[in-house]
Symmetry: C2
Subunit: 354 residues, 2 copies
DNA sequence: AAAACTGATGTAACGCGTTACATCTCTATT
DNA sequence: AATAGAGATGTAACGCGTTACATCAGTTTT
């Protein structure tokens, strides 16, 4: 293959020194005479020389690249986490490959293999399969077969099987539901519904479980018919709310799986003349950008985005550098309530729009 | 450096063939006896062997990696374009590095150098500096010094200087403004304002220029005091609208730099009891996800996201493979009007809220 | 003055996949 | 039977940065 860029050997020749010396200048390693260093430095600049990371990585077995696999970057939650991951990885001098699986398991496998071929130093997984109970097992096998010993960190997800070099960082959605319920019951709500999401997906299952378990801690009623699952989208919120409105008796507060669904719920109400928070209080999840756009703004539980990203990258690099993870390889971070306008005390009277 | 993964030599040894033969099986190149091929194949699978892309890239001078540099992936516009870029790059077997500059020029330079060291096959640039008139010139120098001859494609931006291996793909925002004005004047509007954005940034300058030029084609009035620049955010929309409302005489229709600004404008109106589209028609730009969330939904001009991404990747790969770009290296794509509820005919009477 | 040591620099192997070229076997042609 | 040609496979150099080890000059110690 013909070469086109200047290499370390070209620089060495031009300086009348060996490649070892140039390499030492490049890495500030070993002893180099000040005069030589300046000479080499100046030639490097004159030639706009930059070392080839491939060659470096081939020898050092470290590419300074990491891979992030997630379902869709257009989803605000993933975009925010990704941005924090990238910010955090600057410190470790890592550059990141982003792979969107579009929730397609085959594509996820494909990208996983691809990143392995690219010799990434670590893998960050969020959402998608690590969020589902199905198909997760096969994925662990893939990791074992092709990724090991490259370390993996899961963000807000889990692995159904044992992969030796794995850590995880999560938002504590279970505790967040307790916060939500505490807040809503504190406002005076006793009848609480749940809209959106899908069973078999972690963020739904956890919240549903918490909703059930919290009954012993707080005073509220929760009925099967007030739970309308659908999806994670605006339209899913619209559909779920329409379903709920068919019920004879209704809750006074609604917890939505996320802010997109909450927006659908709120807008459905408003277009029917139902007041939010007057007739219904609507609580969201995620603190996504649209929570400030709806009117009323959505009161929601925020993920600790920055920590999610920085701790994940930190964990990953500890594993990369074989630093012991001091026993904790799975960490759960508190979510925080962000109050906007979509929740208030329930009305005493019969609903005005009925 | 100790090795940990199995290499082509291990496979060759296990099969009692040469590395060349294994390589031929791997790449389906050259003649290999069917029996040998099967043997090699089976050993590859048994060992879960995957070729090392670094080594391959080092020799072939092709990494099958491309870099995307943009300001912030959390912005819906960039996320959507990015997703399309990634989809398109699958066909070319390319994986993509994503770098967020946070609109910091130093960071943009840093990432550019980094991607060059990683030997990316091509670079995709969107927004940020390629969108500003300032500092752009220095960036071209950086490209020339360190990126050349790696090809570059600019999406919705420009380079103030000549970089030999560059193409661009843009949404035709100039024509889109004519569409907007045609639509609004068709509805009966004669007084049109413009909110949001910032001078010196392409998407603002283009629209402002078109707003002025279209006066000869359509019948409308446009006054300096109806143009309130601010930023590209929701808050920027709120601020700009508040400024506009201080004017004695007001337009009946407002064009916003993008949908975020339009949302701010709409919500500002609504909270003041001003009707949209009753009292003001509000037109957005971009067709971002929030345009369906506001009430009313935002009538907006949509970017041809899919083409933007696929053509950019296509251009890039033509340059990578030295295919002539048949004269057109800069292409401009039509935007399309998406009607929702934020625009209507102007009222005849004095505004009700005054 | 010899030995020991420090600092500066060079040599060459290494990591790993690819491919030009060489070699060898076997069939087909005349 | 001799030659040409096709097919299969091996050898070794290459791309490029890194580093263990060797070498050599110059200085310090005794």
């Amino acid at each position: 293959m013909k070469k086109v860029k200047v290499s370390i050997r070209d620089i060495a020749k031009e300086c009348n020194v060996s490649v070892a010396t140039v390499s030492r200048v490049l890495n500030n390693s070993g002893a180099v005479k000040e005069e030589t260093r300046r000479l080499v430095q100046s030639v490097i600049e004159r030639y706009n020389y930059r070392p080839n990371e491939l060659a470096r990585g081939l020898f050092t077995q470290r590419t300074k690249s990491i891979g992030v696999i997630l379902p869709e970057i257009t989803s605000h939650f993933f975009a925010k986490v990704f941005l924090e991951i990238e910010k955090a990885s600057i410190e470790y001098e890592q550059t990141v490959f982003l792979c969107n699986t579009l929730s397609d398991n085959a594509l996820q496998d494909f990208y996983t293999l691809r990143l392995s071929e690219k010799q990434v130093d670590g893998l960050l997984l969020l959402g998608g399969r690590v969020n589902e109970t199905k198909t997760n097992v096969q994925y662990v096998k893939l990791l074992k077969d092709y990724i090991f010993p490259t370390p993996v960190v899961i963000i807000n997800g889990k692995l159904d099987g044992y992969y030796d070099r794995c850590a995880s960082v999560s938002s504590d959605e279970h505790e967040a539901m307790f916060q939500a319920l505490d807040y809503l019951t504190g406002l005076g709500h006793r009848k609480i519904g749940f809209l959106g999401g899908k069973r078999g997906i972690m963020s739904t299952d956890i919240k549903l479980k918490a909703l059930d378990e919290a009954k012993s801690s707080f005073d509220y009623e929760m009925r099967e018919e007030w739970i309308k699952l659908s999806s994670y989208t605006y339209q899913g919120g619209v559909n779920a709310m329409n379903e709920l409105l068919k019920e004879k008796e209704l809750p006074t507060a609604i917890i939505s799986i996320n802010d997109e669904v909450a927006a659908g719920v709120i807008n459905t109400c408003i277009s029917k003349g139902i007041k939010v928070p007057g007739d219904f209080s609507v609580l969201g999840f995620d603190d996504s950008s649209i929570s400030t756009i709806t009117m009323p703004g959505i009161t929601t539980l925020a993920h600790p985005y920055e920590e999610l990203g920085s701790i994940a990258v930190n964990f990953l690099n500890n594993m990369i550098n074989e630093k012991p993870l001091k026993d904790v390889t799975n960490i759960s971070l508190k979510m925080s309530l962000v109050e906007r306008e979509s929740c208030a005390a329930p009305r005493r009277s019969i609903r005005s729009w009925k």
